[in-house]
Symmetry: C2
Subunit: 415 residues, 2 copies
């Protein structure tokens, strides 16, 4: 059971947007045992779309298409599908009624003629109503291949996938099981990890695949297997994952999908009834933003302060001005004071503090661009470290964020 | 001059990572007049890689490949390139010396054998040293097509593109000019915009293409054209863009690439010598994080408070407890108080405040999930509004962030 994803839109090919739809669709298809063997992104160009559909049909049982279903003139997917399926557009009364309802309910106005055109669908298509937009999902079949077309707006596509497309695929196709398990590690590079697990990797059964997924300051290790016996599959992968986790016990954070480092921190603190706060200068709210992206963060995250201007570190956070004057704003004594002041200000048990020079200019610090000090204040005391994370602003912020969470996680586990 | 991008990696096809490399590469190629007609993502599978290379060669003058160059066993791109080019791997002494230097300088240890394998390259390849990692870039030619292979780690790939790949492409190929200009609008949907600009769009010369790029709360409108006379191209697009901007004067923020709404806010405030702060409850630091992602943000952004726990809105921010008791924490009076307290606490001229229920559970508010109150305090007073942004947590936060920036931008322009 093979699938191809085709994403349509000039904006992808000129790099104006990042195609996040493909990753979402791939992940969801994988969960139900459908293997995506190719993702193809092409322009809003009729001939190229027709050619991509024909190429996909040669190999795929399922082709998922997103994009080009909007109400404006640059959207040509629907007309091109009619060409490919030797079909024509007809007005679908259910879609029309749905569009009218959406407009009267949410926008308090009648749809424009362009919105009503969204009710035109290929006559051969099975139609899925889009509860979050006007463009419906379309299901068409040719020979033994199913083609599904959805709008490119991510949340509309996601709801259509969950509500209609995935259930229809499950009903239509027999699928094997695909099982992945991913270990999240912080603090060692992929070659160092490869050396530690070398013997284990050499002995790994050939039906289980290992992949290394490195990112700034962290490496994910994924085991994958495919087969018809779901129970056996999981058992074999879980057994190998346990061996791997044991080998990497000092750098492993937990299993992904079940967790991320911020979720892991959250559940540890929630279970202990402890609270966290953050005083972020150079990370500018990025840590708080990650923590609060998870539902339930209010049960362990008190809040954060972004004392971006140096004066605020003194006036609002309560750091001693003399300390800043003596050691400079990017220094171990100052970051440690920031962390302990954060616990005081927010009434938290743990506090993360960051101060640094994200660049590209040196600002009011005495250190080089990329210098970042991070401190963690815990009920047991304060730890801190000074780093240089290089010259690219985005990378400095991202590395500082990951390192701070890694340090916090270790501290919580110690206590 | 056509290009195809091939990204290689199982992690892309199972949706574990979002492929951001393609967008970056497309954008950079576009700037130098190279049109990307297709992006193809495939697994770490030898036969499939070989087939993708052959397909790309049929149509493309340039094929950019990323991924599969790591030091671990799942990385097979280099060996597969040898098959495709009927070549073999040889040790490159420059790469080896570079690897040794990198390890002694940054890691204070000798490279592992796996790291030294990175110095093996196809004998026919022109080699680009990777200043930020061990895997070099490779440039190979077959008949009239150039193939460039780079590591998939985004920052390594970016530096290789800038330092070596783009200059080599410019030198090798004659290219036409491609010119895009994008208008950023906030506050109206794409159908509404289409209606306003209908006559203009019908009269648009056929060599200029218009695209609508809708996102949560904002729509970008892109004009594109391609040709040999760079000056004429820019002049024609700029003329049409001026007409379009005039038609959409009340919702246009500025031109993208030159700006984003947060950069625009930044330059307005910097020019006036005014300062901004943020008191973010439901947006959890997301607004501060966006603002501080831009270099130079310290010249207008004082800082922010994330009073996630209700008590902090009283104790740290200074909102009157009685106000919260009377109106509930998600209410117009409370959000207005938050904004004016933020100006006091941070000594800023403008303040953004957000309070709401991001979900999925109702928390301590009396309102439905998705309810968000936003206020902007300015030297002229306070404005505020209550919204419902739906049920998906991520979308609520993202819409609230965009709406708050839109409201702030309008307020600044008024004053």
């Amino acid at each position: 059971m093979l699938a191809e994803i085709i994403t349509i839109g000039d904006e992808i090919l000129i790099g104006q947007i990042v195609d996040t739809n493909s990753a979402y669709i791939s992940k969801e298809l994988n969960k139900i045992g459908v293997q995506v063997y190719q993702i193809t992104s092409i322009q809003d160009d009729k001939d190229h779309i027709l050619q991509a559909l024909a190429n996909a049909q040669k190999k795929a049982d399922l082709v998922i298409i997103t994009g080009g279903l909007g109400p404006t003139k640059d959207d040509i997917t629907k007309h091109t599908l009619c060409d490919y399926f030797e079909d024509h557009l007809v007005e679908n009364l259910d879609v029309l009624a749905h569009i009218n309802t959406l407009f009267s309910k949410h926008l308090n106005r009648a749809p424009l003629p362009a919105n009503r055109l969204q009710a035109l669908v290929p006559s051969k298509a099975r139609v899925f109503l889009n509860n979050h937009g006007t463009a419906p999902g379309l299901w068409l079949e040719k020979e033994n291949t199913v083609f599904v077309s959805m709008p490119g707006v991510p949340y509309e596509m996601k709801y259509l996938m969950q509500d209609a497309v995935l259930p229809s695929i499950v009903k239509k196709f027999n699928r094997p099981f695909i099982y992945h398990k991913t270990l999240l590690t912080y603090g060692k590079g992929e070659s160092q990890i490869a050396k530690i697990i070398e013997d284990w990797e050499n002995d790994l059964p050939s039906d289980i695949k290992l992949a290394y997924l490195p990112a700034l300051g962290k490496v994910r290790l994924r085991l994958s297997s495919k087969g018809l016996d779901e129970h056996l599959l999981q058992k074999n992968v879980d057994t190998q994952m346990q061996l791997l986790s044991d080998l990497l016990a000092d750098i492993a954070i937990g299993y992904e999908d079940e967790t991320s480092i911020e979720k892991r921190i959250g559940s540890l603190l929630t279970n202990r009834g402890q609270f966290l706060s953050a005083a972020e200068s150079c990370t500018g709210g990025g840590i708080a933003s990650l923590l609060t992206a998870n539902a339930g963060s209010s049960s362990y995250f008190k809040g954060g302060l972004i004392p971006y201007a140096t004066g605020l570190k003194i006036d609002v956070l309560g750091v001693d001005a003399a300390l800043i004057k003596e050691h400079s704003v990017v220094s171990i004594p100052v970051v440690e004071a920031m962390a302990s002041c954060s616990n005081k200000l927010f009434g938290s048990d743990y506090a993360i503090a960051t101060t640094g020079i994200a660049g590209p200019t040196k600002g009011d610090g005495r250190d080089e661009v990329g210098t970042v000090c991070i401190a963690i204040a815990s009920p047991q005391g304060i730890i801190s470290e000074k780093f240089n994370f290089g010259k690219a602003r985005e990378r400095v912020v991202s590395k500082a964020t990951n390192k701070a969470l890694e340090m916090l996680h270790k501290e919580i586990l110690k206590n």
